[in-house]
Assembly symmetry: none
Homo-oligomer: 401 residues x 2
């Protein structure tokens, strides 16, 4: 039986309101001291967890470290091994490009090449957004017969490229050699289909034109393309869960992921207080509020224990702003762990609490990795969170007579 | 998505060293007293578990008792419901027979039959190895046109038979009626294919010749055949994980299982100290060391509480020999439980600890079944252990952008 079909068939309407608060990369690992979450002073979360379902979640499967795409797809209830979101699509969504079925997207890096066509800087000295924007304008002057293309600044040296108008293939190699001193790689077909051959040829021609166009520029005189990806077909939150959902996320990638599953992406400044305030302003308009806080992950990747702790404490100090709205279901969790000792996404399970009027209690006294090991949920798969949320909000009918 | 393909695609190289120490049948069950592991004095394991990932593992699925084959396949990360290793293949591997694709293997028991062809002893009085060897020599004089066969002493009344040179089928019935007072059973085809018919016919002819050949012998005047199995195709540890692995195991079956997944089988005397010493001698030569201690299982099957406890304590006393090598990942677990009160393999989950520099801590204070229920890993599937080991040793790339 198809899992999503199963859920869709059981869904029933409800007026109950749901908040899913995701602290990106929240999970940590002890090493001669507590984890970031255990060390943080979180009186509100600790009070909350005592009356919530509590536990840990495995993002993908034991040992597998998720990227942001798979991590969020799992949180949203889509099997990340079945629904694959390429980096190019994430970039396109991040710049709010109205991407559609058939489009091929790629991640662009502006780079510097020397007179022998060798890369001297894979990020063109991390050019400011203004230069990036100018270079994109220049590239837009290029004409490729028979197709449309869109290129738009993302941030710093990064941009997104979208091709439209032909039957494309995503099965082509990247042009970034991942090192300097060598020329950009040509695009190769990775299968034998005619679409793939056509796509590869077309992109190679485009890249030649880009090179000519930027030949007098400095430092951004070439582009590197990565993460070619076609627009994926994913059933929307509305279709799958009957949820009218919105995303209160400051960062492009998470806004993009949310829009991919049909959430309304809200304009908001990135930060705990502005995001929580925005939620309050919108309260009542949506069934489901996805709130994404980025900085726990950023400071985890920096290996900055104190800063990661301080973001968690900031969330805790402000969490009452959400709770006093009395959401029928409140879930607090993460897409993956980013332990400060590991300085990167990791495979470790993530803390979760789920509060509703139907939440079973546990012995957990503190919202921390160690305590949560004795929680009411045990260690579940992240993929199962949405079904639990649906159940707690009265949106899933009984299965079978 | 194919699970092994998924893992293979994420694997990345690393220099980190891994030790997987398996205490066969370690798990126990309380009955008016602690389990064997809980009762054992294990100060070193208890110290270790406090800084390790800890928990329990379900070998196959809840309620399913594994044989040694499935138990170890799961430990090695191969789904035991997909990769089936017949007993015959295990026997052939156990005697270090260079088995290859297309070979059909069977487990041989020398038995005693009376003048009416009825079995009087299914183990021929557990003949010593010398008699077994002599009987095998006699059987080798038999000629079966068109095929080659190999028969070789395993131990006591047991031997291995391998057939080569035809397209065989393993889908045939066994000849051991599992009781005395009746004749050996003829081999029957279990499907309608012509290979199966030919294989059954051929083995029945062979058994007639064996009966003639041994008719004047005593007590071993017949053989019983069990566990017909074709050589299985399994991706190797090197291919799947990129691991250069060795097996430090004293018993033939475990040596065989290890060689089946491409581990180098090391010559070693069976026993905690000689096996640990051998590991030390080989340190640095391999990426992955599988150390298999048999006696926990043997004493579990005997129902000998004190002896099983003493093996566990012997391991604990010597474990520092391994730990002082500073393996990057050290995992201690079992293939299945063999509770002394049950005197056999059982379905109960097995203790596990996994120590690396990235191991999350728990409240577990003692390496025992009761304490481990509150561990950081919860109760995982044994199949997921290798993926965790790979992650902890830096050998798995992030999944998705």
């Amino acid at each position: 039986m198809d899992r999503l079909e199963f859920i869709r068939n059981l869904k029933q309407p409800s007026e109950e309101k749901i908040v899913l608060l995701v602290l990106d990369g929240l999970g940590g690992v002890q090493k001669n001291r507590k984890t970031e979450l255990e060390a943080a002073e979180t009186p509100n979360m600790d009070r909350l967890v005592k009356v919530s379902e509590a536990g840990l979640m495995t993002p993908i499967m034991p040992g597998i470290t998720p990227g942001s795409g798979p991590g969020h797809l799992a949180l949203f209830g889509y099997d990340p091994l079945e629904y694959i979101i390429g980096r190019g699509i994430l970039s396109a969504l991040g710049i709010r490009f109205p991407i559609r079925d058939g489009d091929l997207a790629a991640r662009v890096n502006f780079a510097t090449i020397d007179e022998n066509n060798k890369i001297t800087d894979r990020r063109a000295g991390r050019i400011p957004d203004e230069i990036n924007t100018k270079m994109c304008e220049k590239i837009r002057e290029i004409i490729i017969p028979g197709i449309q293309f869109f290129i738009q600044t993302e941030k710093d040296h990064r941009a997104a490229l979208i091709l439209r108008g032909k039957k494309f293939s995503e099965n082509i190699s990247e042009t970034d050699p991942q090192k300097t001193g060598v020329p950009p790689l040509p695009v190769h077909a990775l299968d034998n289909s005619s679409e793939t051959a056509v796509t590869a040829e077309l992109i190679n021609q485009f890249l030649e034109k880009v090179k000519d166009k930027l030949s007098n520029e400095s430092p951004a005189n070439m582009i590197l393309l990565r993460g070619f990806a076609l627009f994926p077909k994913i059933p929307s939150f509305e279709e799958l869960y009957g949820l009218n959902a919105c995303a209160i996320a400051g960062y492009p990638m998470y806004r993009g992921l949310a829009s991919l599953v049909g959430m309304k992406v809200i304009d908001v400044e990135s930060g705990v207080e502005p995001q929580f305030d925005r939620l309050r302003e919108l309260w009542g308009k949506y069934d489901f509020y996805f709130v994404h806080i980025k900085y726990t992950d950023s400071f985890g990747e920096d290996g900055n224990f104190e800063k990661k702790v301080s973001v968690i404490e900031e969330v805790d100090r402000n969490i009452e702003k959400i709770l006093e709205l009395n959401p029928d279901v409140f879930a607090l969790t993460a897409d993956h762990s980013t332990p400060v000792i590991y300085k990167a996404h990791s495979w470790h399970s993530v803390p979760v609490l789920l509060k509703s009027k139907w939440s079973r209690h546990s012995y957990v006294k503190q919202f921390g990795e160690k305590d949560l090991q004795t929680g009411s949920l045990g260690i579940i798969n992240t993929l199962d969170l949405m079904t639990l949320i649906m159940a707690h909000s009265g949106r899933l009918a009984k299965y079978g007579a």
